[in-house]
């Protein structure tokens, strides 16, 4: 056996070890990525799931005419000025007699959410016979009470509630007067300073309008640009310049598009701030490169034989493109469009600069109303100091992720179902 063979044989064990190590590094890397992904999701779901439920407290409420200041239920003005919170305060005082100190009363009243009086009001409007009656009513609890009720023994020690308040809430709990219900207001109301009243609906609607504007602008423009570059553009420097531009725009940081929107659309053109219209235009410019690039790739996969066959039958170039090439490329284009929309839906930074960070309570009704979008709402809530907003933020993130996952799954399915291999 020659010397070299001997040398190789001796080194083999070491080389196999290093081979195994290398492979282990690879597995570890993939694992790191996947673990990071699962920690992210588990963390968000762990923090957010509780926000889908909220607690109610049961109280014996008397809708006293005098306390409310109503003698005629059909009188709208009286209803508007009626003092429903006084009724609730009275009910609380009756439940816990002996609270007379001003500070203690304040603490007692803080158990029930400010929003509870609105519920009482709408109940009374729905059923005028209730006026003057005494009955047990479920009232929305304040967010601190809600947190306390959701927490385990250890979490309860850290509650923001005072000892007195904790005692009261525990009394409610013992007598079975607390109830955990689905938090419908999360999906139906707009932003609020009170976590238990805040919802994502205004942000969802704002996102919807922004996405509509983005889709209506970016899809036609993107497809037309892709068709031009792929089918009609002469091969010259100018076309190259357009291509370089598109490729670069695809990698420009999104916040730069915000600067563009602020300087050009708002300051120069005088468009209003905070409206989905401007947000949609800015996001269009941002997603256009994605849509153009994917549309071009999709148009490229249509084999030349299709074009030649159509041309041979006497179709004009435009007819070939519109009647043959585009329909065949459509699945790919739509996939690209959905991915681009998903990108735009999750985008925050450029929208901050064009003023979509406003505190929006009302549900926007058109693309020209001041609005915010879901990711910006998440950003705003994440900056709120109150503990309950953490859960709310996570819940909003879960909704956003659900939208994105749906869109991406749709894109994948579309590609699988419709795309043709030539």
């Amino acid at each position: 056996m020659s010397e070299i063979t001997e040398k190789v044989r001796r080194s083999l064990a070491r080389r196999y070890r290093s081979e195994k190590r290398f492979k282990a590094y690879g597995i570890a890397s993939v694992a790191v990525g996947l673990i990071a992904l699962s920690i992210l999701f588990i963390d968000i779901v762990g923090k957010g799931h509780s926000a889908f439920f909220e607690h109610y407290l049961q109280l014996e409420v008397t809708l006293d005419r005098e306390v409310l200041g109503i003698d005629d239920v059909t009188n709208k003005e009286q209803l508007d000025y009626a003092n429903f919170s006084a009724v609730i305060k009275q009910a609380l005082r009756e439940r816990f007699p002996g609270v007379d100190d001003y500070e203690k009363k304040r603490q007692l009243y803080a158990l029930v959410s400010n929003g509870a009086s609105y519920n009482l009001r709408s109940e009374l409007i729905a059923n005028p016979d209730l006026l003057g009656s005494t009955r047990n009513v479920w009232l929305l609890a304040d967010d601190d009470v809600d947190l306390f009720l959701k927490a385990n023994a250890k979490g309860r020690e850290e509650s923001r509630l005072s000892d007195l308040q904790q005692k009261w809430v525990e009394q409610f709990e013992r007598s079975g007067d607390t109830d955990k219900r689905f938090n419908a207001s999360l999906f139906t109301s707009g932003d609020s300073r009170e976590p238990e009243l805040a919802g994502i609906w205004s942000a969802v609607v704002g996102s919807f309008f922004t996405m509509i504007v983005t889709l209506c602008l970016s899809l036609p423009i993107g497809v037309a640009a892709a068709v031009y570059l792929e089918e009609f553009a002469p091969k010259n420097r100018f076309t190259d310049f357009i291509e370089v531009n598109i490729n670069n725009l695809a990698a420009v940081p999104s916040i730069i598009f915000g600067l563009l929107g602020l300087a050009i659309f708002i300051n120069l053109f005088g468009m209003p701030r905070s409206v989905p219209m401007v947000g949609g235009i800015v996001l269009t410019l941002m997603t256009l490169p994605t849509i153009i690039i994917t549309s071009r790739a999709s148009i490229k996969t249509v084999p030349p034989s299709v074009r030649e066959a159509a041309l041979a039958l006497g179709a004009s170039k435009m007819q070939v493109v519109l009647h043959q090439v585009l329909p065949l490329a459509m699945p790919g284009i739509l996939t690209g469009a959905i991915i681009g929309m998903a990108q735009a839906l999750g985008e925050t930074a450029p929208l901050l600069l064009i003023g979509m960070v406003a505190f929006i309570v009302d549900i926007p009704t058109s693309p020209m109303d001041a609005a915010t979008v879901l990711p910006v709402q998440i950003f705003l809530w994440a900056g709120s100091p109150e503990q309950s907003f953490v859960a709310l933020t996570s819940a909003a993130i879960m909704v956003l992720l659900a939208f994105l996952i749906t869109m991406n799954t749709l894109a994948v399915l579309l590609r699988k179902r419709l795309e043709r291999r030539w």
Partner: protein, 462 residues
């Protein structure tokens, strides 16, 4: 009528023009013996009428909207008596907004001199006339255009060629949007930056070590100048990006190698899309995760071993950003690794090299330029990333390279300077655009170099 309503009306008119055009062309074809005796299909005649209806009207609308505000303002200004007409641009703007407020009823009419009330009246009148005139002109132009297109329908007219030509021009205009966007970006950051550099010297900006723009609010304050030394921002950005790349490059590269060379088809089919989810998660979610989970975790960890860690440490933001860009590195690396020709692998394996030796000594060097391009793209992504740092990094500009301290970045400062109330001539807001310019230039250079390398590399093996 509002612009939106006008556009809706136009849609209806275009549909009508199309329908009438279609009917007329069919009518004309009948005596000739069918549509095959027409030069073009009826569809094209109808399209031509519809385009005639839509395009001139849209051009008129656009031109009108561009000019009407300026003209109205000028007329209102001219109506004011000579002596209260302001001379400077700023005073003019102030007076105009006062007039506008009176006109909209936000200010009482007797708030200022009687001339203002008169001007407000005029403004309201002019605006009313303006919208009326616009609606009338718009509708008339659309009708005339549509009628012209309808009248011009004749069997010999080359309608198809004309429609196709217009479409082609429209397509080209759409492609030009990309150039316009770039021009718009350059214009918006460049002009404001020039204004900024006329107030603050570029040398102070680029090499100054002190950043405290918040002091520059009022002219009479002690530090009225404000300090606009951007070096702490640059180092902060680089620090966080470096941490991110230190996470993303090894993890991304090794997972790409594993998935491309070792993993079976099944593992690949599952792991690859899962990793790519990381790229699809919105950055605001990462920001929330970094600020509320990772940063406290790192701080507690540091405290348990006796280190003082800032609650907005660069490490937390960098780590999370690193996780975010793993898929960028891995997907580009994956592309370039699979593009290395199989013969090179076979040759190396045939000589008796192990798989890892083949990867390290043959495939990796061959794929290196492409991988470098991918890393540069990832770096540009990290530098321009905004939400993670806005939520998880600090606001105070510390000149430090200690990852446990809080640093601020270029993007954080842009957002902080431009959200909230702002006046547009203060150095404070203009500084954001100067920072934007720096960011744009840096990322542009990185992108150009990266795309060039990747492209060159692709050609090499094609």
């Amino acid at each position: 009528m509002q612009t939106g309503n006008l556009l809706l009306l136009l849609v209806a008119m275009v549909a009508l023009a199309y329908y009438l055009g279609l009917r007329r062309s069919l009518q004309m074809a009948r005596p000739l013996g069918g549509i095959r005796h027409l030069q073009s299909l009826p569809f094209y005649y109808a399209m031509r009428a519809a385009l005639w209806c839509a395009l001139p009207a849209l051009v008129v609308l656009l031109a009108w909207l561009v000019f009407d505000d300026g003209i109205i303002r000028n007329t209102v200004m001219m109506s004011l008596p000579e002596d209260i007409r302001p001379t400077s641009e700023a005073a003019r703007g102030l007076l105009l907004s006062q007039i506008q407020n009176v006109a909209s009823g936000a200010l009482p009419a007797d708030a200022g001199p009687p001339e203002i009330a008169g001007a407000a009246d005029l403004l309201v009148r002019l605006q009313k006339i303006n919208t009326m005139a616009l609606s009338v002109v718009f509708v008339v132009v659309a009708m005339l255009g549509g009628a012209w297109g309808w009248v011009k329908i004749a069997p010999r007219v080359r309608a198809r060629q004309q429609v196709e030509k217009i479409l082609r021009v429209l397509f080209m205009l759409c492609a030009l949007v990309a150039i316009l966007t770039t021009v718009g970006i350059v214009m918006s950051v460049l002009f404001e930056s020039i204004r900024f550099f006329s107030q603050v010297s570029p040398i102070n900006f680029l090499f100054g070590l002190d950043w405290s723009p918040q002091t520059a609010l009022r002219a009479d304050q002690v530090a009225a100048e404000g300090a606009f030394g951007a070096v702490p921002l640059f180092t902060g950005t680089l620090l966080i990006s470096a941490i991110a790349l230190m996470v993303a490059v090894p993890v991304g590269l090794m997972s790409a190698i594993y998935l491309a060379e070792y993993a079976g088809a099944k593992v690949r089919a599952v792991a690859k899309p899962l990793l790519e989810i990381l790229a699809g998660v919105p950055t605001v979610v990462y920001g929330f995760f970094a600020a509320l989970t990772v940063a406290p975790f790192i701080r507690d960890l540091g405290e348990s071993i006796g280190l003082s860690v800032a609650s907005e440490s660069a490490l937390a933001a960098g780590l999370v950003m690193g996780v975010m860009i793993i898929p960028f590195v891995s997907s580009i690396s994956d592309d370039v690794i699979t593009a290395v020709p199989q013969v090179m692998r076979d040759g190396s394996l045939g000589l008796g090299a192990t798989k890892s030796e083949t990867i390290r000594k043959v495939i990796f060097p061959a794929a290196l330029p492409g991988i470098m391009g991918g890393i540069l793209l990832a770096a540009s992504r990290a530098i321009g990333e905004t939400m993670i740092v806005v939520m998880a990094a600090g606001l105070a500009a510390n000149l430090t390279v200690n990852p446990l301290e809080a640093v601020t970045t270029v993007t954080v400062q842009i957002v902080t300077l431009l959200t909230g109330d702002q006046e547009f001539d203060s150095a404070k807001t203009l500084a954001a655009f100067a920072l934007g310019l720096m960011l744009f230039i840096t990322t542009l250079l990185l992108n150009v170099v990266a795309l060039h390398i990747v492209k060159k590399y692709r050609e090499q093996y094609e």
